[in-house]
Symmetry: C2
Subunit: 143 residues, 2 copies
DNA sequence: ACTTGACTTAAAGTTAACTCTAAGTTGTAG
DNA sequence: CTACAACTTAGAGTTAACTTTAAGTCAAGT
């Protein structure tokens, strides 16, 4: 089974434009051409795009991804580099997740804050303020 | 306690340049000025920058953050909008975390794949290939 | 008084990753 | 056989978020 650039684009969620751009940047050296010069994409290329998309989604630049692709093309002599590439990138992604989770905590706090502010009417909030003031006064008096 | 633009930049992890840029974009309408026109940052401003940084870290654009800041400046009439703003953004961040975790799975798979490829010598891999071929043959014969 | 360093502004420059344009070729449906 | 959509290329344009530059002001130290 083979695909044209737009069929393939649909499959992997990229436009033909972006695929040509990726090819120009050296990310797709494995893509074949038809006798008339059209790009012919295969099932195997989907797997390549899955990993490229994964790296892209985790913030890796096109240049860095190219380094990995070049290693893949170079054959078994680069297995160790590729291993370390993923081990290093795993750390980056772990840090990203941790950062997002810390932000999530702040967002949850804000949601709780605004939820309370909304369920409480203005007069209730003012009443609460008055109660607090009363208690402060009593403390000061020594009661 | 108040801070100059560079002291404050150190505190919140941004350069004076970036702080001025944020102000120009309308993200910091709460920052005061000294009699000579210098920006004077306070402790309270740190809290503002914490939430701005949180929104920025979770992929929100400067323009979107400005919408939130404008609501804050407008007072209590925007409490409900602000509540929904965070509820909506929470969904975005949850999706981001989910996506990163899916990528993490692929990265872990790759690490495992390359680890195996490295611990196995080439001859071992070739032997494994031969064994598989033998088994295929036996199946075909009907053994 | 003078130098130094931090501040001010407006505006131009940078970078990555697309995204689009223009000009031309190819292949299939009517 | 002709229209028309989809493909090809090189190269220019776009966008966001900074980042730097240029030209100038201000306040503190020697």
């Amino acid at each position: 089974m083979s695909y044209s650039i737009s069929e393939f684009g649909q499959k992997v969620g990229l436009t033909p434009h972006t695929l040509r751009y990726y090819e120009k940047e050296g990310l797709l050296p494995f893509v074949h051409r038809s006798s008339s010069g059209l790009r012919v994409f295969t099932e195997k290329d989907i797997e390549w795009l899955v990993i490229i998309t994964c790296l892209k989604n985790t913030g890796m630049s096109v240049k860095q991804i190219k380094v990995f692709i070049d290693w893949c093309m170079a054959g078994d002599s680069t297995l160790e580099q590729r291993y370390h590439f993923f081990v290093d990138h795993k750390k980056v992604v772990q840090a990203q997740i941790k950062k997002l989770e810390a932000c999530m905590d702040k967002i949850n706090y804000k949601i709780e804050y605004y939820r309370k502010a909304l369920t409480q009417t203005t007069s209730e909030r003012q009443a609460h303020e008055r109660t607090c003031l009363e208690m402060e006064k009593k403390k000061l008096i020594g009661e």
